[in-house]
Symmetry: C2
Subunit: 334 residues, 2 copies
Amino acid sequence: MNPTIKDVAQKANVSIATVSRVLNNLSGYSDKTKQKVNEAIKELGYQPNAIARGLINKRTQTIGVMFPSVSGAFSSDLLKGIEELANDRNYSVMVCNTDQDGKRTLKYLQLLREKQVDGIIYSSEVLKKEYYDVLETMKIPVVLVSSQTEFASVPYVKVDDYQAAYDATLYLISKGHSKIAMISGNPSDAIAGAPRAEGYRKALEANGIPFDSRYLTFGDFLYESGSIAMEALLEQAPDVTAVFAASDEMAIGALSTVIKYGLSVPEDISIMGYDDLGMAKMIIPPLTTVRQPLYDIGKIAVEKLIQMIETGETVDSKIVDHLIVERQTVRSLT
Amino acid sequence: MNPTIKDVAQKANVSIATVSRVLNNLSGYSDKTKQKVNEAIKELGYQPNAIARGLINKRTQTIGVMFPSVSGAFSSDLLKGIEELANDRNYSVMVCNTDQDGKRTLKYLQLLREKQVDGIIYSSEVLKKEYYDVLETMKIPVVLVSSQTEFASVPYVKVDDYQAAYDATLYLISKGHSKIAMISGNPSDAIAGAPRAEGYRKALEANGIPFDSRYLTFGDFLYESGSIAMEALLEQAPDVTAVFAASDEMAIGALSTVIKYGLSVPEDISIMGYDDLGMAKMIIPPLTTVRQPLYDIGKIAVEKLIQMIETGETVDSKIVDHLIVERQTVRSLT
DNA sequence: CTCTTTTACGTAAACGTTTACTCTCTTTAT
DNA sequence: ATAAAGAGAGTAAACGTTTACGTAAAAGAG
């Protein structure tokens, strides 16, 4: 049995109230007493019990983080930012992998409530009404990352997906490309799907390039689907000179199939990704991509969450800047 | 204020003891009572408070996971396995990124103790005496993953690094290579450093290939260091035909410099990695490597940890099988 | 029908803290 | 010298559960 505050009190010949006071350095004790108490603490190797503490002040100093998939470089970068700032601010983080499964998500939401987390970061998935409802009843702060919701004022932090895709497409156009294909995510995905496809389309049109549906293919953001989409593309639109993928993984998948077909990047086909995962600079040739500063996004999300927790105020959403990272998979046609 | 068990009791016209009994479905109440209670629960939207529960039964159903770095595909795969099984078994996981920093590690250990986690998974770093000592005083179960320790009987789950490196080298030899270099990790790293270098060396010697120190270089397991090590190698031993890197990231770094020097893989130089991260199959050409089943390792670690928690028994360590994954970066010389 | 056992509860203590109240001394002001 | 104020401390309630113990009624045994 670990020593409790009671043991310390006994050893130091004071009441537990006094021990608690020096522990939380409040006022109301003499220097001698303080010293006695601290000695007792040291001797016993006493450590406060955060559970008991949490019970009484209704704060657990813990936040829950929900990911659609805890694997993948994407979540990993984000998590790193989250964990780091949370730790600096004396919060712990509990990870929850929803696997994009409604059942699991709901189960987790309930779990987080039972465990009395002080706030929740909800990542990468649309916040469905179903989830929003339970979040409402638990009345704890939530911030969305790389996500958004129609419901009320849940703050989010993300890049402007539409604009980022627009800029990426514009970049390709500025390099002289006009036969530009896109490997989009699922168009029913209101965050990483539709807006990016829309940005691509609008950028084309704004530059007098008519949208051609043969150039638009779909994947699920993962490597395999990028490969497959690229094969389809090569088949149905062999004249493309550039392809913009809605994720780095898909871009890399696409890259692998163009190589497999004996073509080269960027000489024959230029490829542009989205995310800037750590991997993007390791592949050969290094991937030109639009960067989402995931690490920073994680930090900002925690910052906002803690602000909500500690002040009770609502906070504003934040659009963070994306950035085009020029590496070696895009060739200038001019 | 969320409803408590007291509110439920009141609404159902029973004592809180009874509510608690139906909550934990123990015996000692009639069906009518049970129904009344359940109705009250539903109506109030009551959820038990795990903190209060934890206080009394000294179980938080939470485990702490310590990583040297929470980023990187490595930790990510491991975490996924851990999270998944933990969740199945009704445990939550708290992530702690030590950043390979002693101060942070100690701070975290203390934090985990205060938060009363039921067990700890300690990953990828040697368990120093300093840490072991505090772990001892907290008296909670620990399992090491991809790690080991001289101290007492802390169970671990990992691959046999020596053997895996031996096998990798043997594989290269079997493909007709004899001028085989290695990019090792830090030789003072008793887990991923020395044993792998030793395996490499012994495999060479067992096959009549004298060890040549020009062929042995060092990195820190990350991409950059692999690039740099490869440059040194090309300089000091331009006749190598194969290089075995102690991590996939370093292998990929090496691969990039080989390409940069105008050579090709595997035609001019064969490269073999270690880990089999998700990335390994995405690069071009796909990396031949020795696989550590990180996802499974994570699961096994949790399994063992929970067994220790729930039975109080000590458990055995486990060496999991590694596997050579043949892809396209190794050429047969014969 | 009486005695014993079982069932169905209620009461209250306990878990380890924090904190609102008290209370007793000093100190300071008048 | 006396009153007021403050410092240093203790007592006990509270947080939301679980659970040992007690007890009255119901059920079963004879």
